[in-house]
């Protein structure tokens, strides 16, 4: 029988056979602000290399999605009841802080936004700030009758929240998705499994989940946000109809409007929901003075082009193609087709073989992208970090890989556009393996 002392000796002998390479120096940050910088950067890098799994929110499970990422990505909680979201995130070891986001006509206590956004790598201890709705804006909000049906539906759609069982539906519910009508039974309307087949509610559920990656929502919106220009859902008004509307709008991918109707005359009170209208739209061309909308527009049109939904791009007469901030070649606007974006670079780049293509990295990534104002971590910049086409009075928007598992999965496409909202340069940045 091996004794404990003998076991210690044997284990040490075994350990001595393990050749450990010297590690990178590990230093602690000096300031309170910087306290989080090193671990978060390191966490993002390491988690990309050793992905530890992602929290999964099962909409069919009872109660809010238990969030269990001990290392992983922040789950989408926009639209959740704030208390439920806080509890779920805290269970995952995250530190939750809140800020108030006044919204007229909205039930207080709903998550309107998160910082960081969903999909961001987090580790236990990461601070997540929830923007929580508040309707206490003295003198600014007009009277608005209870938005309970909307919030109940939101609980049902977004997160199996605390009020989901309160949502009541008529025996037949007319559901419109971009003008196409489907009739659901009341039971089907409240059963998420049926939504994929009759997908208006499923579409809006997806929309709400996407909001956590960037964007927000408003209830009873009045004028639509700039991202939603051109979207005017047909409102089947009728006598004494009560309408509750919610609009989600996101950078890059446009917006969606959910309208919920019920008959204001019927009994019991509140009467059940008998019509749901979901309308989605991509962003329309913005004005030159709205820089945010211009970025949204450029990004959206480029993605549509990359994914084959459109054959046109808003291009300047000349478009410069860059890889890793290094200029490679220029295209004439008239010559631009998808293969034209494939370029090679002498000496290679990011330990990948050419061609490198802004189109291909977008189209080939099943996880999609996020729009941002800077490149993703890990993205290798082989030339000095000067913006392409710097000095032409341009702006940039970055499309970044949404869900990279490791640095090798990381990509960024920088789109540089001019004052006429035309693309003047495209810069591909890839993460080094």
């Amino acid at each position: 029988m091996t004794t404990e002392t003998e076991a210690r000796r044997l284990l040490r002998l075994a350990a001595d056979t393990v050749d450990v390479r010297p590690g990178e120096p590990i230093t602690a940050p000096v300031s309170r602000h910087g306290r989080w910088t090193v671990p978060l950067i390191a966490a993002a890098t390491v988690i990309a290399a050793v992905a530890i799994g992602f929290a999964v929110v099962d909409r069919d499970a009872s109660g809010p999605g238990p969030v269990e990422p001990v290392g992983g990505s922040l789950v989408p909680v926009v639209g959740w009841d704030a208390t439920t979201a806080r509890q779920a995130l805290q269970k995952a070891g995250l530190v939750v802080e809140t800020t108030v986001q006044p919204r007229c006509g909205v039930t207080p206590g709903r998550v309107a936004s998160t910082a960081p956004t969903a999909g961001t790598p987090v580790v236990p201890g990461t601070v997540v700030t929830l923007g929580v709705t508040s309707s206490n804006i003295d003198g600014l909000c007009v009277d608005f009758e209870s938005d309970a049906p909307l919030m109940e539906l939101m609980d049902l759609v977004a997160a199996d929240g605390p009020n989901k069982d309160r949502a009541t539906f008529a025996q037949e519910v007319d559901v419109y998705l971009n003008g196409e009508r489907t009739v659901l039974t009341g039971t089907e309307a409240r059963t998420s499994q049926t939504w994929d087949q009759r997908s208006a509610l499923g579409v809006f559920a997806t929309e709400l989940a996407r909001l956590s990656v960037g964007g927000t929502w408003v209830a009873d919106p009045g004028p639509l946000p700039v991202e939603c220009r051109g979207i005017e859902p047909a409102h089947p008004h009728g006598p004494a109809r009560q309408r509750f509307a919610i609009v989600s709008y996101r950078p890059v991918t446009g917006c969606a409007v959910l309208d919920v109707y019920r008959d204001g005359r019927s009994e019991p009170v509140p009467s059940p929901i008998d019509m749901i209208v979901v309308t989605t739209a991509a962003s329309a061309s913005p004005t030159a003075t709205d820089s945010h909308a211009r970025s949204v527009y450029i990004a959206q049109t480029f993605v549509n082009f990359a994914e084959g939904r459109s054959d046109t791009l808003p291009l300047a007469d000349q478009v410069d193609l860059y890889v890793g901030n290094r200029w490679v070649k220029s295209l004439s606007a008239g010559d631009v087709q998808r293969p034209a974006f494939q370029v090679c670079l002498a000496g290679g780049y990011a330990e990948r073989s050419c061609p490198y293509s802004a189109i291909d990295v977008i189209a080939d990534d099943p996880d999609g992208f996020r729009a941002h104002h800077e490149a993703a971590n890990c993205a290798e910049q082989i030339a000095p970090p000067l913006r392409p086409a710097q000095g032409r009075g341009t702006r940039s928007v970055f499309l970044n890989s949404r869900n990279p598992q490791m640095c090798m999965d990381v990509w960024s496409v920088e789109l540089v556009y001019n004052v006429d909202t035309e693309i003047v340069a495209v810069n591909v940045l890839l993460g080094s393996p």
Partner: protein, 159 residues
């Protein structure tokens, strides 16, 4: 007195990597795992440093991270699940390598307790916390693991 993170990481990294290898990782995996572990610990470093035994906390994080990584990957324990063949055994005849083969031949449960108890120097209670099992289970597994080690043919041949 609290332990400085940088100092701790510098002095303990090697041992942590070796522990991870003995627990079944390749060296590359072990280095990644230790990096993840230290990163997680750094986020809570005040708590770790104020613990009676920072090592116990750190090993608990390491074991949890390893378990999560294993759960995520479909192929499980690739590095050491297979006992090396006879040919390699004869050419790598040092006692330390023989012990590694013996560890690889043990069940994961037995290997975990041996490594944490006798290489990482955790107490039974600390090992139990790290593995998320009762202390009594650690005790019984340790006894069985030591018994298995004593009859392992790799060690018997090398000594």
């Amino acid at each position: 007195m609290t332990v400085d993170f940088a100092e701790y990481a510098a002095t303990r990294r090697k041992t942590l990597v070796r522990s991870a290898v003995l627990l079944g990782c390749t060296t590359d995996e072990a280095e990644d795992l230790v990096q993840v572990t230290l990163t997680k610990c750094f986020v809570h470093w005040r708590k770790v440093a104020s613990a009676k035994r920072p090592d116990a906390y750190v090993y608990r994080v390491l074991v949890t991270a390893l378990r999560d990584e294993r759960a995520r990957r479909w192929h499980g324990e690739t590095p050491t699940a297979t006992v090396p063949d006879e040919t390699r055994l004869q050419t790598d005849a040092t006692e330390g390598l023989a012990v590694r083969r013996a560890l690889a031949a043990l069940s994961k449960e037995h290997r975990d307790v041996l490594v944490l108890r006798f290489y990482s120097d955790l107490s039974e209670r600390e090992t139990a916390r790290a593995l998320g099992i009762p202390a009594g289970t650690v005790k019984s597994r340790t006894a069985r693991a030591l018994a298995a080690l004593s009859v392992d043919r790799n060690i018997a041949r090398s000594t």
